[in-house]
Symmetry: C2
Subunit: 224 residues, 2 copies
């Protein structure tokens, strides 16, 4: 299946990994064929939404048969770029950096961790899962010499921008950023942020909104 | 500033923590006053977007003065529910669970970590930052007895649903879920997901899209 050269909307792009995950779940359960109706039910999307999404990539379903789970999983994996391998570095060997480094699942999906970088002399020379922690001064050269494609930023926010610049100067094509800072990088580099605090604060907002709703309801009851 | 009882759109809700973060940055830089134009510039939003967003909560700016950074930061913190304290547990003391437990920043923002839970007997009884790791069998009772409000799920995806059910049975009001699984919970409980794999796969998708664009451009050059 060829990817069309038209740009796919970010909403569809963000749903693709979800399809991939659900299809992987089905494979684990040894389910090899699914109708768009059944798929829509488990994913909480409408069947027409699913058809529309997958049509962006040429469509995969067969009238009267549904989807071949294995094939669809494979094709979506290909579309997501998960059939390739990516040389990766992690910058910052603190809590999150170590957690990502220890998460062997990413290795299986093609992310080859080549080095971890930190500023702390006590950490330099240590290893996480056989991957060495190097001095961050060596970052740019290392990225260049090893053709690193993805840099994971797990440094404090004050250091995020300069870390990104070193990664870009070294030649990475993508940055996965965990620092609570909006990094500025050239347009040809892909940036994906995970802002944990923002996610947690959204939770507390919604929690208090629910509480407010509860109070409103109580007030309504009293008024009746 | 009173929160209006009308529901605010999720897009605005998701931007609130970002305002909070930018205002905190400004305070660290000892900037106490900012025009909506300047704020829009640093945040990459339009000035009218910012006015609209903040108007959902009654508006804060003063004509000809701009925003009082300290006041706005405080008010947004209040709207986000960050002036309260939240009794929290983490379930799953693996990589991500440990990283979150070690991240003292959340404690400062009002998240009191009361207990960590795991299934692994080797971990039970150990402590992370003075917080004990308990047997997960004790989870529901612990949540009940300690009036825990937020549960953080860091278990493998196969265990995510049953963990959520124990947390809900115990009485939490919100769940912060790191397991790659779409948890089903009652409507009155708030759920916020952090799907790390999905974020990473979005990155590789976009990386390959850029590569494709590059190839397209090269083809165009050859045709000229």
């Amino acid at each position: 299946m060829e990817r069309s050269s038209q740009k796919v909307s970010m909403a569809v792009v963000r749903r693709l990994p979800k399809y991939y995950r659900y299809l992987e779940d089905l494979l684990h359960k040894e389910i090899y064929r699914i109708s768009s109706k059944e798929l829509s039910k488990i994913m909480g999307l409408t069947a027409s939404q699913i058809r529309q999404d997958l049509n962006c990539f040429g469509g995969f379903g067969q009238q009267g048969y549904g989807y071949n789970v294995e094939e669809l999983h494979k094709e979506i994996g290909k579309i997501l770029g998960l059939t390739k391998r990516y040389k990766t570095v992690i910058v910052g060997a603190g809590n999150i950096g170590q957690a990502i480094a220890n998460y062997s699942h990413f290795e299986q999906k093609g992310f080859e961790l080549k080095g971890i970088f930190d500023i702390n002399p006590k950490l330099i020379g240590l290893k996480i899962r056989d991957v060495e922690i190097y001095d961050v001064d060596y970052l740019e050269d290392f990225v260049k010499e090893n053709n690193i494609e993805i840099g994971v930023i797990c440094v404090p926010r004050e250091k995020a921008q300069e870390t990104a610049e070193k990664l870009v100067a070294g030649g990475v094509r993508g940055i996965w950023n965990f620092a609570p800072h909006d990094i500025k990088i050239p347009e040809n580099i892909v940036l994906e942020n995970v802002h944990l605090s923002e996610s947690l604060y959204t939770l507390t907002y919604l929690l208090n909104e629910k509480l407010q709703e509860g109070t409103d309801n109580l007030e309504n009851i009293e008024l009746d």
